[in-house]
Subunit: 156 residues, 3 copies
Amino acid sequence: MDLGLRLGIDDLFAAYAECIDEDRLEDWPDFFVEQCRYVVTSRSSHEAGLQHGVIYAASRGMLIDRITALRQANIFEPHRYRHIVGPIRIEQIDATVAQVRSNFIAVRIMHDGEMGLFAAGRYLDRIALTSQPYRFIERLVVLDSQKIDTLLVIPL
Amino acid sequence: MDLGLRLGIDDLFAAYAECIDEDRLEDWPDFFVEQCRYVVTSRSSHEAGLQHGVIYAASRGMLIDRITALRQANIFEPHRYRHIVGPIRIEQIDATVAQVRSNFIAVRIMHDGEMGLFAAGRYLDRIALTSQPYRFIERLVVLDSQKIDTLLVIPL
Amino acid sequence: MDLGLRLGIDDLFAAYAECIDEDRLEDWPDFFVEQCRYVVTSRSSHEAGLQHGVIYAASRGMLIDRITALRQANIFEPHRYRHIVGPIRIEQIDATVAQVRSNFIAVRIMHDGEMGLFAAGRYLDRIALTSQPYRFIERLVVLDSQKIDTLLVIPL
C-alpha cells in the first residue's frame, strides 16, 4: 500500500470532522459519492443485522435534504461537536475501494459552554479511491450506546 | 525508519483496541509474544518504581488465564470500552524491537447505555518486529488516576 | 509531500503533549521558535477576530516566564492533563513552513484522582521546517467552550 493512499484517507477523515465541527454542514454531503449510504445506528441494532438506523440516507441528495431541514427547523438548542478519531485500520483495499474502520468519540458543546462526552463508537467505511479527494461510498456510524437517539440532530 | 514499520505499528494499535472494544477478548493474548509482560498500574506506583500493578501478567499463558476467569466469573455488570489512542511516538528502534509510547483514553459503556470517561493514561510499549503481525513484548499501561482499581475487569 | 515531513510533524505533536502531560513544563518553551506566538482563546473570541486570549505569549521568553510563575505561585490544586489529538490536517506547506490543524481534547486529573473532560478544541499551527526537531512558529489553541478561563493554569 502506498503512502499517498494512506495520507489521502487521513486527510478525508480530518476534513470530514472539521467540516462538521466547524458548522460548515452545507459542505458535508460533498464528502460522499452520489450513490452513497450513510447510516447512524447503535451497536445492538447493527449486531442484530438491522439495515436502517437513527439516521439513514441512501443518496447524496438525502444528505442535502437533511442539512436543509436541519437549518430550517432550528428547533434544537444550538450546539457543536468536537470529533476525535483514533488510528485508522485498513481492512481491505483494491484499485477502486478501501474498506476501513476507526474508533471515534464526539464531545458536544452547548451554546452556554456546557461540554460533555456525547457519543462513542466506530466508523465502518467504504471509500472510493478513483478520484481525488477521496469520498465515502458508505459511512456506517455504529454508536456504542443506544441512549443517544432523540438528541441526534447534527450528523456524526 | 521506513513506512512499512510505522504502518505496522499503527495497525497493531488499531487492531488491539478493536479486539477489546468489540469483546473478542479470547483473541487478546495473541497480541503478545509468548514471553511477554502486561501490567496495568497507576502513575504514582509507576513513578515509585513499583514493578507490579492492578493487573500483572508475565506470560501469554497468564493473559489467557485472565480472560478465562473473566468469562467464567461474570460477576460484574456487562460493559464495554471504546479506546481512543493519540499519535504514537517512537522512542527507540533497532532491527528487532521498537520502543514506543502513546496517550489513550477509554470510554466505558454500561449495558443500559450509560457512558462515561473511564480511564486516561499512557501506553509504554516494547514491540517485537521480527515477525508479522507485530506483537507486544511489553505493554505497560500507566493510568493517570489511582481511583480505577476495583472497577477494572476488562483489559485496557 | 514526503514521509519524513509527515512523521516529523506527528513526532512534534506527540512530544508536545507528552511534555505537558508528564509535567516537564520547563521543556515546553523549547517546542517554539524564539519569535513565536502562543495563544489560547475561545471559539467565539477567535471568530470575532480578537487577537488576544486567555493566555497570550509573543516570544519564547514569555513562555518561560509563564512556567516560572506557575511553578512559584503554586496556588492552584495540583493537577495534570492527558491530551488526545486526532488526525493532523496539513493545510499548506512550502520549503520552510507548514500550516496544519487538528482536533484535541484534554482530560484533567486532580491530585485525588478525580478525572474529567477539561477542554476540547482545535490547534491551528504554523510550524518551522528549517531545523530538526520541528518547532512551532505559532500555536493557536481555540477552545470550543468559553467556560474554561479561570481554571486554566497549565498550558494546553
